[in-house]
């Protein structure tokens, strides 16, 4: 699928975006396995977090606008033929994938520190 990006930024380092706000991280994770439209992202996040994280339409699209400006996601110019043409689909960009991975590594380091001092029991590594 062809895609277009609203971002004109030069390539920043993924680490410069950390730490990610919670909503942003879940949006990037949701787009990590497939391209989605906005409502699909909301449903996926709610399902993935068992309802503990619920994105409102307003906060979702505010975040999407920022992510487009930062170049972490891109809007697709094509969409599935059977879908409503008014829906816009988004894809995770390589930069966005790198940022999400960097955030995961950061959280893993936090977990490791907590395990070291016995705050939480040792878990699968």
């Amino acid at each position: 699928m062809a895609h277009r990006s609203a971002s004109e930024h030069p390539d920043p380092l993924p680490g410069s975006f950390l730490p990610l706000p919670k909503d942003v991280f879940h949006i990037l994770v949701s787009l990590a396995d497939q391209d989605r439209h906005g409502y699909s992202v909301m449903q996926d996040v709610a399902e993935r977090t068992a309802g503990t994280v619920r994105l409102s339409p307003s906060s979702l699209y505010s975040a999407i606008r920022r992510l487009l400006e930062q170049g972490l996601i891109a809007e697709l110019s094509e969409r599935p033929a059977q879908d409503d043409e008014r829906r816009r689909y988004y894809r995770l960009t390589p930069l966005g994938r790198g940022v999400a991975q960097a955030e995961v590594r950061r959280m893993e380091q936090l977990l490791a520190s907590a395990r070291q001092v016995g705050l939480i029991p040792d878990g699968p590594r």
Binding site: Y39, S58, R65
Partner: protein, 871 residues
Amino acid sequence: MTGDSAAMRTFQLLLRLYPGEFREEYGRELSLVFRDRLRGEGTASGWAIAIESFGGVLREAPLEHGRIAARDLRLAWQSIRKDWLASALIVITLTLALGANATMLGIVGQLLLRPVAGVTEPERVVRVYGKGYWRALTRSWPDYLDLRDQANAFSGVAAFQPGRVPVAKQTIRKLRRDRVTPSYFAVLGLHAEVGRLFREDREGGANPPPVAVISYAFWQSEFQGRRDVAGETLRIGDVAHTVVGVAPAEFTGVDAEATSVWTPLGELVRDRGNYGAVHVIARLQAGVSLSQADQEANRANQQGLRADGLKANGDVMQLGALALTQGPAAPREIRVSIWLSVAAAVVLLAGWLNITQLLTARAARRARETAIHLALGASRARLMRQWTSESLLLAALGGVGALGILLVAPPLIYRVLLPELPEPATQLGGSGVTLVGVLTVLSGLLTGLGPAWFSVSGHGITDLKRTNIAGEIASQRWRSLLVMAQIALTVVVLVGAGLFRGSLNRVQGLEPGFDLDHLLVVHVDTQAVAGLEGAKLAALYDRLATRSRELPGIAAAGAAHSIPGESAWRTRFYMPGRDPQRFWEEGGGIVNRLSTFIEPGAMKALNLRLERGRWFEENDRPATEPVAIINDQLAREVWPHADALGQCLYQLRPDAPCTRIVGIVNSSRVESWFDQPPAQYYRPLSQPLREEMAAGLLVRVAGRPELAQAMVQQELQRLAPTLAFVEVKPLKSSIEPTVRPWQLAASVFWALGLLALTITAVGVFGLMSHSIAQRAPEWSIRQALGATPANIAGHVMKEAFRLAVPGLVAGVLLARVCSRWVASLLFGLTVNDAGAYASAALLVFLLAAGAMLLPLWRATHLNLAHQLREE
């Protein structure tokens, strides 16, 4: 869910809270997602989801506005930095203009609006004013009694006598002490901070006890704020007083000078002729208006006169604001300050026009860039918002600078130009910052919206081709109009400056009639020394006069009963052959004129001009023939057809012995500085009429009195007993307050005029530079075809004066209209004074000439090859 459509309509309505560009981009999708979320939900769960979504909009929409504003400010900052020179000019213009306005508006607001602190319902408390030079602020004791006892319009009337006395507790200082009637604090609605205030049953009567109420500040500094201060002793003058209470913290008296101590007044002598006995204040009864109380007060006063067997006179009482700065006897500085605020507003208007002109020029330079943005889909609203953000940011920078001016300018103005008026703690309080904030936002919007609209209106593909001739012409015309308007406003301010400068020159040029520039006046404050009065005080002044004459650099010295500009007495004499029951002005024989009892040394110190006859001599004693010296004004009035020299005055009674006129001197100003010198006569202090005694010394120095002041004070203090303060000051210092309003007006008007000139010069320069740049190719070609630099210079000058002349004419006409409003503040000239208009016109022409020098040089040094390459 039932009600889906209601929820959807509500959601779409709420979407309008988002900025337009966000709504255009994501509005449809948001609506789709909202619809999808509601699909299949029941009523209760559906409404829960709807309300959560509504909350999301209410939370996120303001944040989107904030993000867009932040982006606009970032872009505005980049644009300001790119065009840093024009931006700096704009910020400096706004800093000065906003600072000047905030300063003057703040000063005027405080003077006119601030009530006397601590008083309950200050709008219901009035001060009794009067007409006439010596009656403007004070009344006689019987006048006060008339109001207290006869006027029904007041719930309370009080009187007070201000003064400065030595007060001794931990330190001895000379402080303001008000002697007040027992009703004083009740009329003002005050309650004691500690102890009690005066009461009729305790401090009333002819001989009240020696008690005192002290101010809060005095209580803190001398008694460390001790609650057990009541009963403590305080030495005021030479009398020990018992402190009975402390005044409220915020109350410092009803005048500009803060009062430290209040003592009971007692009862004064019933003397209707002593106009300066007391100040009178009163609280209006509920439901009584000021005009009703005014009428009632005058009725009561006239009734009192009739009861004393006196004819009703033309003396009129006038009730006014308690604060002197807000009443009919307000210092002239107040009215001048108001007009200075107006002038500052005119300068701000000129500044706004200039900034609008500069921003319009910037918009014209960016026409192509704007056209590209519009072609790429940016909305006009978005571009206008971005332009306005730029002007608001520039205004904000100017506002910050204005706050800096507000911090330093008002104290300077108060200290140098308004020293007699109360200086507030700071102008940088909430109201000052609010004022700067409001003016800043107003500046940003007024100067930005016009150029913003100009930048987005009427632009199209023609701007991309850079051939929008019509747009260029429209821009140039609009900017020319703005510059002409600036010139007109500058002329108005400069004419005002010229008129006040002219008034100041005339005030300063008034001849006093005596040697004001070399005179010192000496007073001995004897309030702390028991028994130093009458003959003992006269003997002390005699010793001081003798010692003064021995000091180096002293040309003459002597004592006088009244000092010019400080006090004046009238003593009547009679003319034979005329009705002794009627005044001279009515054709009778009573001549009531200013009289001064004075020593020969003091007359010599005044350095009057003896026109005929002789001076007083040491031989003029009580046992010799009574003599007098009159001034030429009195000679003209009473002996218009005869030689006054050798004539007789009959003092106090028609059958009194002859007082022979032995000399005639020039007339001098002793009372009001601005009135014509009055008719006056002098008597030797050695021949008192009613025990007149020395009230001060006049000392003439060879050089400047300020330089001799300290030496004279030190030498004379040695002769005075301990606790008797010898005060020496230049006599000029008594006159200076009368000159101060014109000094204030002339100084500040000129400062504002120079500011307006600078602003307008920038405008003219900018416009001329732009015009030259636009016509550079044309002139290059003309030069190549044979036009001389002189030809081109002629064109440029014609263009500059085409701007200046209409602006000048409009300014002169506007100044003629506006100057009528300040006519009453001028002295010695009319609002049509040619000098003021001529100097304003000259400055404007110099401005136009100066502002076009660089553009003129550029126009006459164009390079055709370079211009063609640019094309």
